[in-house]
Symmetry: C2
Subunit: 800 residues, 2 copies
């Protein structure tokens, strides 16, 4: 290793350009550009300039580095998986593109722009309609379920045989959840959870397999209906966002892999760059539909997802979110018999809040709420993380996952039942517009307040905690509810069901916010405390403590409550919640992304990394192709290694066998391009065939996007292997490159800002000496522990 | 030219690396990296692949290009000025930086982060206080002015000698405006106007001279007070945003050029990158203070300014905007005797709007409003542009500018007086809480409605048009008012006074919105029309039509009216207004930026430009320095050319005189670095002196930032010229480079995404063949005309 590094520094790297000579060193990995595994799996010690100790923490004038762990433990956060492929945000500016530009000209450019707006319009409408259908299903099924349960309770409470409705409740929960859980576990596991981490990864540039397929959308839609109707402590907002992303990917590509149908429209959007832009708009439309928050949707997409700020894209995204919320509003208004009134902007409606006046001296109170939210959120994340690790270790098979989901469904019902049974919190009928007032052991004309909370969707419960007047609930009931629901919701997130965490956390937060309001009222009996204010602030604090979003969450809550005057308290609370939570651990989405070992690129390079050089980061040796290459050689190379990008180099001069000119970088060609070329037999059978005679255009590549056959699926006859292939018209002729002495931050910024997939590293005379891919960079991460800070290297594994 | 291009394509470019041999070709320009002027001033014809016609529009399969104009006309929009320097967003990762990192380690990194938050806190507070002072001054002075005028009117209306109060009004306007105008014209011309275009340029990466100095802030503050009190149709919001930017630059750098004071704090933030981030936060804090819109502030800074989306930066900016609006709120509440109540979130308060329910069928009405706003906005921009060109041509001297400002001040008073005098629009007292009810010719117990509009600040007038009940104004009065104010406001923007255009356009829009509401009421007499709804939508449409902001303007209006329920109508209106306006011309800020010939980089490269190559875009020949260079040579070079960055290349081998190895790129060094090195005499007097013995650190460079002495100010003794200077520890050792065959879009994306200042272009063996700077790229621009589209090349001039 160190020898090779030195030779690079001298500019005379002897990396191998001929496959035959290197087959012994190649690692046969099943996926993507994983060259680095061969080096990093064996924990090569880092050549640190002036420190050679083998401690876990290397100290060199305050610069700390932590070595990667020695073995891969399930649930470790220090691993990157080699299985994820990357998206390429960079355009391949080959001759075909130039040709197309020249042929089609500006009218095509204008047409593409119009098509983009049209697609965004469709995305907004379809996303909203899906949200509408899911919402209506949940509403109607829940209504039926709780009505029947109420009937049963009312009947058996008099007979003192309450175990019958209890069993009925447990059974109905289990049955409903079973359906969704089976679908998720056996049909499409990627549809589990809220989908936000997956969408976040996708927007960051990681291709999470099957995440934007229509099958995923179907499973997700059915899954979220069963999860919420099944009484789990989950929400439907996260899945809505995921749905929006799938819709966007589907519509913009004009084809569906699930249905194996290619509509042959919008083919010019079949590239990672365009697709990712649409997915980002789709996710925003999903947020918009879920919360009735068009501005919040745009901000969500910016804060959590999109790496690329672009005015035009943001402007289109905004259009999409407006269309989405508008469509949903129309549909819901019509459904509720108020067509044309536009009074249902989003799925989640926290009810109109009155503006609450607040005083200067209340700010510390809001900060306190923020701190509590941050701590509770961190605790929630910690428990959920531990549960996730437990699941990875011991709940490996699909049927075990289904069993766990059913168990949680039963536990939810049990919790609710015990609370209703044991805490006899009665209040007079008529005050609260609950749909299913349950008398239970209360006096006539009264109903059980906790039953009202449990016998409705969590969303309606949030509204109850926000808007019910002071004294509607006993403090003890609320405390028990908070503890139960806190644990239930953290147990639920990560199950093999489709459900999000927004609503459960808002509910928990609104509950403890109201509890604190009662406490404050108790301490300051002379003042009239507005419970809605503290319940809302508590809800914001809890959710902020879990997800650690700030500006987008603020806007979402403002838009959901329809009241901007409360912005300042919410902002202050969220800021403090984030600071407090970040002291303990990361946001829940980031934790799950790390658990999945996704090579996510953060916003900034790790600090104090200027002394790490590209020569240390890059993967080498590299496998190169000549500008005019033998077909047999290409086939062998593709079969031998699993890399997705190959530098194209100058062929050796006819008689001068000089190693340096041989490797001079000419361009980069992708595996997928080579596959398509082989598939279509674009060969030069003799010296006179040129590519322009072959009637090749961009659509040949587009029609295969994004799933190309593997090299083993192609049948290459022996005569073909003797042909040559001119790669020059197809390769990217001017890839971004960096010299081997570039620092990691420099590498990182280039890679991150331009959304690259492959970055050739060259020496002083422009010869390729290595390749850098996403995983090579994502390996270096900031590490914080008990006030210390440093950098750690993650282990790259192909086992996870 | 074409010969040189060809030689580059062959990879054997013979550009000159020795100054002596090229002194005949060098252009002595007074500023920045203007090498390109030598090529482009002479309108070199573009070697277009298959089209050689000399028409204005080159057509090649739909790809159109327009040639630059043959001569420079004042007021042309097709010129880029060579006088602007660029900012450098890229970090120079030289040995000094590495050394500092290693010495200070993570504690320093953490400390810097804390310092950043602290500075943002200060920026928020100071910006808010400045906003507070300006607001109070305007309020109090206006109150005095209009009270005295009222007294005079009341006295002389009975004597039938109304010309006396008229003259008094005119005179007071002229006197007040005279002060502000003199200050702007003679003390600091960059303080003219709203400051938003200048801030936008700065955030885009163009160093507009003196734009963030404290002197500018002082002139701006006094100027905006005089402008508004002087009765001009201008607002104070734009200047607030500029103030925020100045405050941010001042505080974050810990020094003031105006006062020639260096506090020696925050030295580590003395680089373009950090300064620009703070300025972006400052501008956001300014918006936040001006409109009480913390979220709108962040979005404004993103939409209009910042090119670099970064989660951490956005999050800090958000903190700054919250602090700003909170501080202003506290201060204003205290001033108005309601300390602790926090009821004044921003300077501009449009008054609490009630949520206005709207029906499905009203959407076309909003779209119509948007169209009207877009057209009126485009007209406003057109008139303002013509006026600006007129000013450039004929109002050249400062005193003429002062005279014009006074003329407008007189015209404003005259308009107002004529309207009050001729349109006898009376209504009963008591309905409208105007501070100065003027009876004029009205019956007793009535007052003149138009006088009420004119005898208050424009901001209060907006509130009147929004909130006054139906029937408060006669339609004819409003129509006359709209026409007058429309013309006055477009005449005012661009005068030599400090004032913005938000309020005047909101006022015009609110007025015609109300007029249309009256019309609708007339057509649908059975319905009750809410004038507030249409006045607000009209205000949004007019402002949107002028500035063409979408998402940030939506949020600002929502936050200013404190009502989110109205979001959808406002969004739809703004979207349509932007589309309509963009059909005719660009936003007013962009027009003024183009008039100032600023090389602003747009968001995207011009379309269909993949057939333009770096070799065509770059400036060449380049002037290079050797890694260890003779001091005399450096001094000569700096005196000879005005470039700001020089590639550093390998020295020739001792005995092999080979031209190709000579020019191999090693790094890039800036003029400013060379100046500081010369100033501090960091020489190698003999071979044994190395830089590490010289006790040099980053602070040597930082203490001079951002204004370095010119080469002529340095005294270099003859003995010094015989010394050598080792540039390697100081240069940027791994600059981003691109091959000469890279396309313009590729160049553009790299340059824009990373905020570069210099980009060396290399050939196939890594030899420097050219340099690309901002102006080389900004020259290529999209061109749209009557449905046609193409690309035009701007002319680069050192005359403007």
């Amino acid at each position: 290793m160190s020898q090779s590094s030195n030779s690079i520094a001298d500019g005379t790297a002897s990396s191998i350009s001929n496959v035959e000579t290197t087959s012994d060193t190649a690692q046969l990995l099943s996926h993507e550009e994983v060259a680095s595994t061969s080096n990093h799996q064996f924990n090569k010690p880092i050549n640190f300039e002036d420190s050679d100790d083998d401690d876990e923490i290397h100290g060199s004038h305050g610069i700390r580095r932590r070595q990667p762990p020695q073995k891969i433990e399930p649930g470790s956060l220090n691993i990157l998986s080699a299985k994820y492929e990357s998206l390429d945000y960079d355009t391949c500016e080959n001759h075909l593109l130039l040709d197309e530009e020249r042929k089609r000209g500006y009218p095509f450019f204008v047409w593409k722009d119009i098509a983009r707006w049209f697609i965004i319009l469709l995305i907004g409408i379809v996303t909203a309609l899906i949200a509408f259908i899911i919402d209506i299903c949940i509403e109607e099924f829940s209504k039926i379920k709780y009505r029947e349960l109420k009937k049963s309770v009312d009947k058996y409470v008099l007979l003192d045989r309450l175990y019958i409705p209890y069993l009925l409740w447990v059974l109905s929960n289990i049955c409903i959840v079973f359906i969704g859980s089976m679908l998720v576990a056996y049909v499409e596991p990627v549809a589990a959870g809220s989908g936000i981490p997956q969408v976040k990864c996708y927007l960051n540039g990681v291709k999470v397999p099957r995440v934007v397929r229509i099958k995923t959308l179907l499973v997700k839609a059915v899954g979220v209906i069963t999860a919420v109707v099944g009484g789990l402590a989950g929400g439907k907002e996260g899945p809505m966002i995921h749905s929006g992303a799938v819709v966007a990917a589907g519509i913009s590509q004009g084809k569906s892999t699930t249905f194996n149908k290619d509509f042959k429209i919008f083919q010019y959007f079949r590239e990672d760059h365009e697709k990712r832009d649409f997915v980002s708009a789709g996710a925003a439309a999903g947020v918009s539909a879920a919360f009735g928050a068009p501005i919040g949707g745009v901000l969500f997409s910016l804060e959590e997802g999109t790496s690329f700020w672009n005015q035009a894209l943001t402007w289109r995204t905004f259009f999409g979110t407006v269309v989405s919320t508008f469509t949903l509003n129309c549909a819901l208004s019509a459904y509720h018999g108020r067509a044309g009134e536009l009074s249902y902007p989003g799925l989640l409606n926290l009810g109109k809040m009155d503006p609450f006046p607040f005083q200067f001296y209340e700010l510390p109170v809001f900060m306190f709420f923020g701190m509590v939210g941050g701590m509770l959120g961190a605790l929630w994340n910690f428990i959920n993380y531990k549960l996730a690790v437990f699941r990875i270790r011991y709940i490996g098979t699909p049927w075990l996952r289904v069993v766990e989901a059913c168990l949680v469904a039963a536990a939810s019902a049990t919790c609710g039942f015990l609370m209703m049974f044991l805490l006899n919190d009665c209040r007079p009928l008529g005050e609260d517009p609950t749909k299913v007032p349950l008398q239970l052991f209360c006096a006539d004309g009264e109903y059980n307040a906790l039953a009202a909370i449990w016998f409705q969707t969590p969303e309606a419960s949030v509204r109850s905690f926000l808007h019910d007047p002071m004294g509607s609930y006993k403090p003890w009931s609320i405390l028990v509810f908070v503890v139960c629901y806190f644990l239930l919701s953290t147990w639920t997130f990560g199950l093999s069901v489709s459900s999000g965490l927004f609503i459960p956390n808002l509910l928990t937060g609104a509950a403890w916010g109201r509890l604190l309001a009662i406490l404050i009222q108790y301490m300051l009996p002379s003042n009239t405390i507005n419970p809605a204010k503290y319940a809302l602030v508590g809800a914001a604090a809890q959710l902020g403590g879990v997800v650690r979003m700030t500006i987008s969450l603020t806007v979402i809550i403002i838009e959901t409550t329809g009241q901007i005057s409360n912005a300042l308290p919410i902002i202050i609370t969220l800021v403090v919640a984030k600071w407090t939570g970040d002291f303990f651990n990361e946001g829940i989405y980031d934790i799950h992304i790390q658990l999945a070992a996704v090579p996510l690129l953060p916003w900034e390079p790790p600090p104090l990394a200027h002394n790490i050089y590209a020569s240390e980061v890059m993967s080498h040796p590299v496998f190169t192709l000549r500008t005019v290459e033998n077909v047999g050689h290409i086939v062998e190379l593709l079969k031998l290694v699993s890399y997705n990008g190959f530098p194209v180099v100058d062929p050796p001069l006819a008689d001068v066998v000089e190693i340096t000119t041989y490797k001079r970088l000419r361009g980069v060609i992708l595996r997928s391009q080579l596959i398509v070329l082989l598939q279509n037999k674009i060969y030069n059978e003799n010296a006179n065939t040129t590519w322009s005679n072959l009637n090749v255009d961009m659509n040949m590549f587009r029609s295969e996007y994004p799933r190309y056959p593997s090299i083993d699926q192609l049948e290459i006859a022996d005569w073909e292997k003797t042909c040559t292939m001119d790669l020059r018209p197809f390769m990217n002729p001017s890839p971004y490159t960096l010299p081997h002495r570039a620092s990691l931050p420099r590498l990182f910024r280039l890679f991150r800002a331009l959304g690259l997939r492959h970055l050739p590293i060259v020496n002083d005379v422009n010869e390729v000496v290595g390749m850098v891919t996403r995983k090579d960079i994502a390996r270096y991460r900031v590490w914080r522990h008990r006030g210390h800070m440093g950098m750690e290297e993650l282990i790259l594994s192909s086992e996870i």
